[in-house]
Amino acid sequence: MHLTTDNMVRRKEVLESSCEQRARMLQDQFSVSVNHVHALAILVSTFHYYKNPSAIDQETFAEYTARTAFERPLLSGVAYAQRVVHSEREKFEKQQGWTIKTMEKEPSPVRDEYAPVIFSQETVSHIESLDMMSGEEDRENILRARATGKAVLTRPFSLLKSHHLGVVLTFPVYRTNLPPHATAEERIEATTGYLGGAFDVESLVENLLGQLAGKQAILVNVYDVTNSSDHLIMYGPRYPDGDMSLAHESKLDFGDPFRKHLMICRYHQKAPTSWTALTTAFLWFVIGVLVGYIFYGAVMHILKVEDDFHEMQELKVRAEAADVAKSQFLATVSHEIRTPMNGVLGMLGLLLDTDLDSTQRDYAQTAQACGNALIALINEVLDRAKIEAGKLELEAVPFDLRSILDDVLSLFSGKSRQKGTELAAFVSDKVPKVLIGDPGRFRQIITNLVGNAVKFTEQGHIFVQVHLAEHTKSVMAAKANACLKRGSDEVEVIASQTQFNTLSGFQAADDQNSWENFKLLIADEEFCSDASDNWIPTGEDSESVTLMVSVEDTGIGIPFQAQDRVFMPFMQADSSTSRNYGGTGIGLSISKCLVELMGGKINFISRPKLGSTFTFTAVLRCQKNASSDLKKSPLEAIPTGFNGMKAILVDGKPVRAAVTKYHLKRLGIIVEDASSIKMAIGALCGQNGHLRSGNGKRPDMILVEKDSWISSEDGVLPIRFIDWKQNGCMLLPKVILLATSISTTESDKAKAAGFANTVIMKPLRVSMLAACLQEVLGMGKRRPQGKEMMKGSALHHSLLHGKNILVVDDNMVNRKVAARVLEKFGANVECADSGKAALMLLSLPHKFDACFMDIQMPEMDGFEATRQIRLMERKENEKIKTREVTYEGGSKTEWHVPILAMTADVIHATYEECVKCGMDGYVSKPFEEENLYQAVSKFFESKPI
């Protein structure tokens, strides 16, 4: 729009200026011509009238005008008409030799006066002798001209010859010089003739426009507007076409004040619609459309994305729900399968009790084994489902990592002995004695890894190590540096070795565990063992400690192509694996989940045919005041009778020696190394001969690794032992054989060679080691097998023994059963049949150590009862604080009876709800030993028998 108006304005301006230009040019040319005619008039008056005789005749005039025609380009011709009054007509006609004619070329009728043309330019010679006063326009012109004494113009009319439109210009010629302000009468009187010229306006204007550029573009009309109501056209078409919308008028002054002229210019064509405007508009339109489309597209896209997002969200919710449902289903189904399976197993147990022949017994035993395997699998699936459903919660109870390792080793000792593989565990001294975490799950991971290792290893060793992650890292870094410095010659030496420096001498997948590194780890340990006797955590976070556990085996290893799916559930290396070795392959995936729950990572290095090393880290918290809480741990039961004893260990393999040393150290025994029996005896003799200053104490025992004994066996050295015995020269240290497996002939031989009766069988465990040593050394038999029996129900026995426990259940049968279970564990049980009764019994002060509370009871349910009990306790505690009430001895400073919910609903038991109303935990109903133990262990210390 702006462009268009701009264009319009510009167009108008152009029109205006060109119109004005044309008008001015026309006017100028016109006035030039008029001036010249004026000059002619003066010429005529000067030479025709003032000269006597006249200097001008027709011939002179014609020639002069012809020669000066260039001065009057606009005039088609000029002529001079003399004023002749009627009285002079005859004389005049005689003088001229012709008669005065009218315009119609007829002899003029009689008039007052005449104005016949006497001189004329050649171009208009046809009007000679014509009476100008006979023409209407000319007559008017003449009359006006002589009255005013100025040039006058006729209105436009068709010229005689050319039939062009034109005007006639008339100048009066006076006989005498008139005064400047002569009146009209004086002028008329003085008039002697008229000089006239015809302006051919049409050709005039055409010529003029021809000189100008753009004449085609602009249409020019010239009007005589003397009569304002009736415009007389002088030039241009009568009905002008072209652009009627825009016109410009310019006034023309042709020197005749009577007549007014006007020039109107128009554009020949309508304003050419501007292409730029058009294209711009079009572009704008296109841009608009595009932008609109883009906007529309964006909006549509946003809507679509939003829709998709909602859809995805819904799908996600559904998928999650499905996932949860799947896990719940798995959990429920596994739970439901467990129940009948227990029935099957129970019945199989009963069946095995009956009289069966060997085949039947075999069948039944097989069935039982299968059933057990199935139960184990179901438990694993349940675990996984629980983990996936986010139901698995890790406990945080203090436990002794070392005894857990011992437990695991004892679990697999039978199998490993059978296969003749060596099974050993080593825990770094830097690992705190008491850690806080989930011992059950920790054990589960290690059991799984060790179980796999045992399963896939036919020869060699399985070695479990526990170090602190930071420590291992720093040592490894140091080692890497050292290796770099030492250069490559070392490598060759290692490569040429046939016997590897590992636990059993077999090569392991991960070189990290070879003696080279192990030595560094241990050396570092020994170096700072004095300083870190009561372990001070060095990390920033003194609360938590990261353990690094590695399980190394020399088994068949994992094929490379299977290594990336080791941790996927139900994946085994290949289908033949499960055929050859059994198992479902779910264990590792569970272990992985558990490790991740413990904030660690699990990975492995495996080389086919060489073995695998699984390593995992776990973040556990360590007990800050370790010493005070040590006795709280029910599993901590290492006898202290060996404290300060001394032993010499004969073992050619440093790693193995380190493991044995670790176990002996746990018993408080100081150990010295000897790589062979000879060395050991040498050490002894040396001691006998001249007492070493530093080590005054004689060793109490010599432990000999079977390999070392066999290798040095020529009967010579063992004889030395016997010699000593026979000499009886001194109190001989006991010589004990260490072995993974031993045949009867070997053991006989050993006895003959002077070894003690007891052979310490590997894998080493502290309890077993202690028992054996007690036996050998003849120390007080403090129930040597007791530690073994401590596990299992005996533990619960001690845990609940003598405790006063209240069982609250409205169901008589349930009450009876629950009471019986607890009684069997040695507790004193009282019963209450409702929440109210329980409140009565628990009104303070009371004697109960714990309360098992049914949740679903009429009148007052377990939650409500608990709330009330807690309220009561809180009030009492306030009073104790303010010393309103005191109890004898002042021992009771706070009342808080542990309340455990009993619920039949294991899967959906909402722990949070129990906690919310003040309960301390829950046990499933009917009681399961393990479950009960876990729940109760948090509240009672074990009382050693």
Partner: protein, 156 residues
């Protein structure tokens, strides 16, 4: 001969138990119950089961009364009774009784009176069957105990 009799009785007992397990009348909870029995409470299973019978008969009577009442509408009370029944039956491992209780409760939650009545009949039937079988079991047990006692008068 008496010793042999004890063994035979023991086998009988196991057979009966196996049958009951097979039929799904009992589940492993009953075995747990048996494990709880020892010298300190030699009649534990019998005692518990007797309590169970007494309680259950009371409950069955109440249930029947409630359901036969013409203007009966107290399904809530039925639910409470059934919860009791379920609790005690699962405690002694009476699996089939428990399962019928679950169905019964489902019917009562839907206020389905016809279903409730059907379930009640089924429950009574299951209960009677259980009672008979357990009585049988206890009889054998008693005989076995007597036989064992005769064979080894002073065992401890």
């Amino acid at each position: 001969m008496l010793g042999l009799g004890a063994d035979r009785l023991r086998a009988d007992m196991n057979r009966l138990l196996a049958l009951l397990f097979h039929q799904g009348v009992l589940d492993e909870q009953f075995l747990q119950l048996q494990q709880l029995q020892d010298e300190t409470s030699p009649n534990f299973v019998y005692e518990v089961v007797t309590i169970f019978f007494n309680e259950s008969e009371k409950l069955l009577r109440n249930l029947r009364e409630l359901l036969l009442d013409k203007e009966f509408s107290d399904y809530k009370k039925i639910g409470i009774h059934l919860n009791q029944f379920m609790g005690s039956s699962s405690s002694i491992g009476a699996k089939r009784v428990r399962n019928v209780c679950v169905a019964f409760r489902a019917a009562s939650e839907q206020n389905n009176r016809a279903g409730c009545l059907r379930a009640l009949e089924l429950l009574e039937h299951e209960y009677c069957y259980l009672k008979n079988k357990l009585h049988e079991l206890f009889q054998i047990e008693q005989q076995r105990a007597m036989a064992a006692a005769v064979r080894y008068p002073i065992q401890d």
